[in-house]
Amino acid sequence: MKRFLIRTIAFTCLFVGVLFILNLILPYNPDGYMREYFVKTARLDSTDRNKVVILGGSNVAFGYDSKLLTDSLNRPVINAGLHAGLGLKFIVDDASRYLKRGDILVLSPEYEHFFAATAYGGHPLADIFYLSDGRVASLLDMKQWSTVLENTPFYLKEKVRYTATAWALKRANHTQLSRMSAFNEYGDMVAHWPDSLSHYTAPAETSSTPQELNADYLLHFVQQVKEVKKRGVDVVLYPPSVAVSYLHSHAADIQSVDSAFTTLDIPFVCRPGECSFPDSLLYNTHYHLGHRGAQMHTLHLLHLLRDKGLADSGN
């Protein structure tokens, strides 16, 4: 038994050592999509003037023309949306470190965050954990640590894949979206803007089975929002932009999120239906707008901010 335990422990140490070496020697794509996190974070950290921060997943990254918003509001606008897979809990905890009195936070979470364990993230959270050399560890709770551990293989596999296919990536089409260089200086995803065609096809299902809200996370989310508000930040809870077909097929889930927010005294600033767009304006998923859709969505937000009296000078 002793010999077995010693050999098992020895093998395990060798195994972990090999993984450690692989992590050290294999590069992560220098133009990888998740690297944009550090650009956005630096922008949040370095902007002293009262700013507008739009927060969410890739729905936000694809959803706005922030230059249009900046010029209209005359204050810096930072599109801090990146990937819903970071988990809404991390997204809000992380960005709120850079918010101060006088800032406006437009919080536009994808609906999936409020069901199952989506709010605790997926493989993108593990990517950020490792890319930041663990500097975001203080923001993680047990569930998020579990996410990081479970997605460590995926992170390493991405490095192996990149090493094996770097030559192919270099020859990839310039409109490829999954890269850092596809974002502009405001944090908007723009590589697809020249392409006016929609590549989105709604799934065949006409309605999905209603899910149960993650009540634990919902209460935590309310706390997160209230804490940000307490610091003097104006918080606008804005429905995510979605395809009309998705709005109809997931009406029950969207309605339950809308009702929950109203009940918990953090209502959406408008009805979810106002942020739905014809499928032809979506680019490749039910959350990702093309350029025309992003412009329309931005103007809608601007109109709402003006109605709330938040669209005055940022100085």
Binding site: M1, R3, F4, R7, T8, F11, L14, F15, V18, L19, L22, G122, H123, S146, L149, E150, N151, P153, F154, L156, K157, V160, R161, T165, A168, A172, P203, A204
Partner: protein, 486 residues
């Protein structure tokens, strides 16, 4: 609790250490009690409510054995003893049918009556299907039937019996163990065997490789293709079908290997559930090599009691269809599973009627490195026939299955696979894993499993590390085992 989860990674070493610590210091009863507790924790991890059902099934089966024994001792007639056995069988099958088939039969009954103009009232039972219910129910039933047939002594140790039914490595996805094999092992004190434990680890590693590197990587493509069959050309559909054939094999045989390997760590030997089925030369050989525990269960408890193949032809046809349809139904409440069973019955029947169902009982190309061309052809044709069956099995309904097969038969629809770059990359990764798996299985077809190597320790460990790292990198969250749904 999934084998491929952090929870199991923490659970197994803890249980292993406590089990052998108790084994050295305590009685057999304590060791078995710990196995029951650990198994119930393992099973209850999904849903603690499932524990009541498995405990009830186990207790009823245990009682039925005692009751049969007592009745025999009192000189009761065969009819009464048969009634006791039948009562337990009906009770357990009734529970299984209620959870698994109630809604299916009701829906079909309503449709049938609607077709002739009658409207029936609809009552849906929104019951949660307990994980592994088909497996442990059949395992418990085999005990009752074997006691009735006097093939096994009545169990008098309730703890050992509970351990036999709930033993966690094989509880939720088999192998479906016979009481004659597994129960006696819980009546003997287990002592730690270094060679068995090491072999158990190797078997677990091979199982994880098949599950993670082969099955889960194939699943990523299969799910995409089957979700939207109309969007893909015939080549893509062919890739999807072949990958599913390897997904289900890697998933299920991988689980069985992990179960067998884990059991070896605890000094328990489980039966082999898969024996290189894709190297079969005909359908009959395939069914002797695929899901052996279920097929032998149906053979011993359904086919042979019905007369087997020692009856007139019409009854052979009846018996063959009976076991294949039941086998299909066992997999789930959907016409696709039943059709899959019927499909295989139709393939198997000619062989048994012609007396050629036991033509290939040896290992293919035994003593030779490579198979002969006609053997390759036989294996290829058998694999093709089996894959067509898998399309029916995997499809959401019969309509999709037929549509899928019709698209494959359209030769004009073949072109370069219309999959995006990332999915093609996954196809390549999956194909590489499948190739390595098949190569190693071929080379080791005379050995217990492919990781039985005779090289020096450093060389062996390099190989084990390679498979460990490959399996680790292939891990994706939330990929349950396919057979958990059965």
């Amino acid at each position: 609790m999934l084998f491929n989860s952090i929870a199991f990674l923490l659970f197994l070493p803890l249980v292993f250490c406590i089990y052998w610590w108790l084994g050295r210091r305590s009685s057999l009863r304590v060791q078995n009690t710990f196995i029951v507790i650990a198994s119930y924790v393992f099973y209850g991890w999904w849903d603690w409510r499932f524990l009541f059902l498995i405990a009830f099934t186990t207790y009823c089966s245990y009682l039925s054995g005692l009751w049969i024994d007592r009745s025999r001792a009192k000189g009761k007639g065969k009819k009464q003893i048969k009634a006791i056995a039948a009562a337990n069988i009906v009770l357990n099958l009734g529970i299984l049918c209620l959870f698994k088939y109630f809604n299916f039969f009701q829906e079909n009954l309503i449709e049938l009556f609607a077709a002739i103009g009658y409207e029936l009232d609809y009552v849906t039972l929104n019951v949660l299907l307990p994980v592994g219910i088909s497996f442990y129910t059949f395992q418990a039933l085999s005990y009752t039937i074997d006691v009735y047939r006097k093939r096994i002594e009545t169990a008098r140790d309730p703890i050992a019996f509970f351990a036999f039914v709930s033993f966690f490595p094989q509880l939720v996805a088999g192998p479906i163990e016979r009481a004659t094999n597994l129960y006696p092992q819980f009546l003997r004190r287990r002592t730690f065997d270094y060679a068995e434990a090491c072999d158990g680890c190797r078997l677990m590693l091979w199982g994880f490789f098949k599950k993670l590197a082969v099955a889960d990587s194939a699943a990523a493509v299969v799910n995409v293709v089957f979700a939207d069959v109309n969007s893909y050309n015939a080549t893509t559909l062919l890739i999807g079908a072949i990958l599913f054939a390897f997904q289900i094999y890697g998933d299920f045989s991988g689980y069985s290997d992990i179960a067998m390997g884990t059991s070896k760590l605890f000094g328990i030997r489980l039966m082999k559930n898969f024996n290189l089925p894709y190297f079969s030369r005909d359908i009959a050989e395939f069914w002797r090599r695929w899901h052996i525990s279920l097929n032998t269960w149906f053979r011993d408890y359904v086919y042979i009691p019905l007369g087997g193949s020692r009856v007139r032809r019409s009854l052979i046809v009846r018996n063959t269809f009976a076991i294949f349809l039941l086998s299909g139904l066992w997999h789930g409440a959907n016409w696709t599973f039943i059709t899959w069973g019927a499909y295989h019955a139709a393939l198997f029947l000619p062989l048994i009627l012609l007396g050629r169902n036991r033509k290939y009982t040896d290992v293919v190309a035994a003593g030779r490195t490579w198979a002969r061309p006609h053997e390759v052809l036989q294996m290829g044709v058998t694999f093709l026939l089996v894959t067509i069956g898998w399309i029916i099995f995997r499809a959401t309904d019969i309509h999709q299955a037929l549509h899928y097969i019709a698209r494959l038969a359209d030769l004009s629809a073949y072109a370069f696979p219309n999959l995006d770059g990332m999915t093609l990359l996954v196809v390549a990764e999956s194909s590489l894993a499948i190739f390595v798996m098949l190569l190693l299985e071929w080379k080791s077809r005379m050995k217990p499993h492919p990781l039985c190597w005779s090289a020096k320790l450093p060389v062996r460990w390099c190989g084990y590390l390679l498979f460990s790292v490959w399996s680790f990198l292939s891990y994706t969250t939330g990929q349950a085992f396919i057979y958990f749904q059965f």
